[in-house]
């Protein structure tokens, strides 16, 4: 199947969702290409398991398709709604006792392409970060991932997590302190040049 081209990137997610709810399948295809990469990345960071992350993304999108005909415009951002659903699905899975994947499975080593050394360094940093995120309490991890990896604003994270903005700031601050401590073995990358 030829992937649909997002010809109008300025079309808001909500407009596409309403179009889908009115029976436009192409709107669903564009939303899928636009939103699923973010969901998979978010769930992957929360669960450290690629297969489970894809399951969460599929389930969250299925719920979006089902709610589309009754979507109340202007009440919530589509992305906020999806992050909230995905976060709850991730927490459910974590609480069911799913074991975190071993660190070695977090990514593949870089190949021998030109610039592979730089890529490997970046991949190492990404793996180290993923391992450190896995050690955070789930609420801290969620706040840090949404703020610093997904790039959401604190008020938007507050709405997703159903807490106040100050609580978001507290969670991200504590999460970052814990990450710094966990990554302290990589002092040069953290910017600590001397002892």
């Amino acid at each position: 199947m030829t992937p649909p081209h997002d010809t109008d990137a300025a079309t808001p997610d909500e407009a596409l969702l309403v179009a889908y709810g009115n029976g436009d399948p192409m709107a669903a295809a564009i939303l899928t290409r636009r939103l699923v990469p973010r969901l998979v990345a978010f769930a992957g960071r929360m669960l450290n398991d690629r297969a489970e992350a894809e399951d969460v993304a599929q389930e969250a999108m299925l719920r979006l398709w089902r709610i589309a005909p009754e979507w109340r415009q202007g009440e919530a951002k589509v992305t906020s709604w999806l992050y909230r659903v995905a976060a709850n699905l991730c927490i459910d899975r974590q609480r069911r006792g799913r074991r975190q994947a071993p660190l070695a499975a977090a990514g593949d080593p870089a190949d021998g392409r030109p610039g592979a050394v730089a890529a490997m360094t970046e991949a190492d940093r990404a793996r180290a970060l993923q391992a450190a995120l896995g050690m955070l309490p789930e609420r801290q991890r969620q706040a840090v991932v949404l703020r610093h990896l997904e790039g959401l604003s604190n008020p938007e994270i507050a709405r997703i997590m159903d807490i106040g903005v100050e609580a978001v700031e507290s969670l991200t601050a504590r999460g970052k302190r814990a990450l710094t401590a966990a990554l302290s073995g990589r002092r040069e990358e953290l910017g600590y040049e001397d002892g």
Binding site: M1, P3, Y20, G23, P25, A28, A29, L31, T32, R33, V36, P37, V40, A41, G44, R45, R50, E54, A57, Q58, M61, L62, W65, R66, A68, P69, G107, E122, A123, R125, A126, A128, L129, Q130, A132, H148, L149, K176, L179, T180, L183, E189, L190, G191, Y192
Partner: protein, 120 residues
């Protein structure tokens, strides 16, 4: 002093994490699009084709049962309209032209006339 985000030493790790996020598989995207089409089909029955002429009108009224009820009511109304006015008019004429059509005060109740005499 609060550290600017660009000076945040963790930012190098965050940037690496953002850049290294693997894209979703084509199989996942295909499954999700299939879900979307299935949800669309499940929640929205195919519209009935428009019926031409009187069949369309009948469908708009609510089907053959509603149409039959409406036709019966129309015929009954027509029959009443034809048959009843003659009877009604003849009764009206009889009442208005006859002396027996009026009422005297004494006819309103058996003791009404006596009651008036006693008060006066």
């Amino acid at each position: 002093m609060k550290m600017a985000e660009s000076d945040d030493p963790l930012e190098r790790f965050f940037e690496a994490g953002r850049r290294q996020a693997p894209p979703p598989s084509d199989a996942l995207l295909a499954r999700i699009e299939a879900d979307a089409l299935a949800a669309l089909a499940a929640g929205r029955p195919a519209p009935a084709p428009a019926l031409p002429g009187w069949r369309g009108l009948l469908a708009a009224l609510g089907g053959w049962r509603a149409g039959a009820g409406l036709a019966t009511a129309a015929l009954a109304g027509l029959a009443i309209g034809i048959a009843v006015p003659a009877t009604t008019l003849s009764r009206f004429d009889a009442l208005s032209s006859s002396d027996e059509g009026g009422y005297e005060l004494g006819e309103l109740g058996p003791g009404y006339g006596l009651a008036l005499l006693e008060d006066g």
